[in-house]
């Protein structure tokens, strides 16, 4: 009797395999920052329209993740960190990932346009295009500045959230964009310092490979210093306030100290403690972003109760 697996020839994916294509961990950050962008906006939104808006942003981010996995399947198969992803592990066929990515991109943008407004949908479409085409297809394999410019894709969600509520762009939404944009390079380079060999094996021109780890440490410090005024500047806009300022001062001091610690070390120190400081700073960078956006959310809640703000 013939086995059914042999009849079909290829592995048939579970629903979870398709879900994994959408990079659910990245999606968490996207959903959170977009939700904050929507909630801190001065225009109230019907809760269900807000829910659909965030859902569309999440699906759009997932779609760009699927397109990224389709395009990067060859390098994902080489890197240890990404070998278990659905395409390199054989659970999902590349064509399926492309189809899902394109279909969900169209679905999320059109539904967002119908549910909210054209600006929000246009920004979402641009975000998907930026991540899938500008970052994945162009910058990632061609320049060590890939993370710097590509970071814009991850920075758009709060702007889209803001546009869902207001139908426009404002200095506040641009500053939220700038916060994530400036935060991305030190965040990723801290990661690159402790997964160094992987990017080199995959021929991805990560700064650690092209310019060396010393230059990367300098860049982490430089970008972290440039990040501080952006983070603190938000405190003095209409979405900031004393709570945000206190949190920002604390987090920026912590992150800056981590960046200085990385800058003061060399590879011998790093190897000796198995990149303990780099791993710690990477973790701090996650607290940093969630902390700032969490504080903005607290300010928004306080404002609705007649407190908060200046």
């Amino acid at each position: 009797m013939t086995d059914v697996t042999q009849q079909t020839g290829t592995y048939e994916a579970r629903m979870g395999d398709y879900f994994a294509l959408m990079k659910p961990r990245v999606m968490q950050l996207v959903v959170f920052t977009a939700l904050v962008g929507l909630l801190v906006a001065p225009v109230p939104v019907h809760p269900f329209i807000g829910f659909v808006g965030i859902l569309c942003i999440a699906v759009g981010a997932g779609a760009s993740g699927a397109l990224n996995m389709w395009w990067d399947a060859d390098i994902d198969a080489v890197m240890k960190r990404t070998q278990s992803r659905p395409i390199p592990s054989g659970r999902v066929q590349p064509g399926e990932a492309l189809g899902i990515g394109l279909a969900l991109s169209g679905f999320s943008v059109i539904l967002l346009a119908l549910a909210t407004n054209l600006l929000a949908a246009g920004l979402l479409a641009f975000t998907i295009f930026f991540y899938a085409v500008i970052y994945s297809m162009w910058l990632k394999r061609s320049t060590p500045q890939n993370i710097v410019i590509g970071g814009a894709a991850g920075a758009f969600p709060p702007m889209v959230g803001w546009a869902v509520a207001t139908g426009g762009i404002a200095p506040e939404s641009v500053l939220m964009f700038a916060l994530i944009f400036m935060w991305t390079p030190p965040h990723f380079w801290a990661l690159a310092l402790f997964v160094k060999s992987d990017y080199g094996n995959a021929d991805v021109p990560m700064l650690t490979e092209t310019h060396g780890r010393r230059v990367t440490r300098n860049h982490i410090l430089g970008y972290t210093i440039a990040l501080v005024p952006v983070a603190l500047g938000i405190a003095f806009t209409s979405i900031g306030g004393p709570v945000y300022l206190a949190v920002a001062l604390l987090l920026n001091g912590w992150f800056l100290k981590g960046a200085v610690d990385i800058w003061r070390r060399d590879d011998a120190d790093s190897e000796a403690d198995q990149h303990a400081v780099e791993k710690r700073v990477f973790k701090i960078s996650l607290y940093y972003l969630f902390g700032h956006f969490g504080a903005l959310l607290v300010e928004a809640v306080l404002r609705t109760n007649g407190l908060g703000g200046w």
Binding site: E12, A13, Y18
Partner: protein
């Protein structure tokens, strides 16, 4: 003789079919609720008439009145 199918492949297919089914139900619910929310948000029922192709005497009369005012 009863043919018993117990292959793991069928579990994966069931998992996928249930997943797609739930997503489709979710989509229908989203479109339905979104429609209700949007229509309720219009407030004045004449706002909804603006999007159909039915003759609207109330709006035509209003337009006629304003034209007359313009010619005088």
């Amino acid at each position: 003789m009863v043919i018993k199918v117990e292959h793991e492949l069928h579990k994966r297919r069931l998992d996928r079919n249930v997943g797609v089914g739930l997503l489709l139900i979710g989509f229908v619910v989203i479109v339905l609720v979104l429609t209700v929310v949007k229509v309720q948000g219009l407030g004045d029922i004449r706002e909804m008439e603006r999007f159909d192709h039915v003759a609207r005497p109330a709006l035509e009369q209003a337009a006629g009145a304003s034209e007359e005012e313009g010619t005088q």
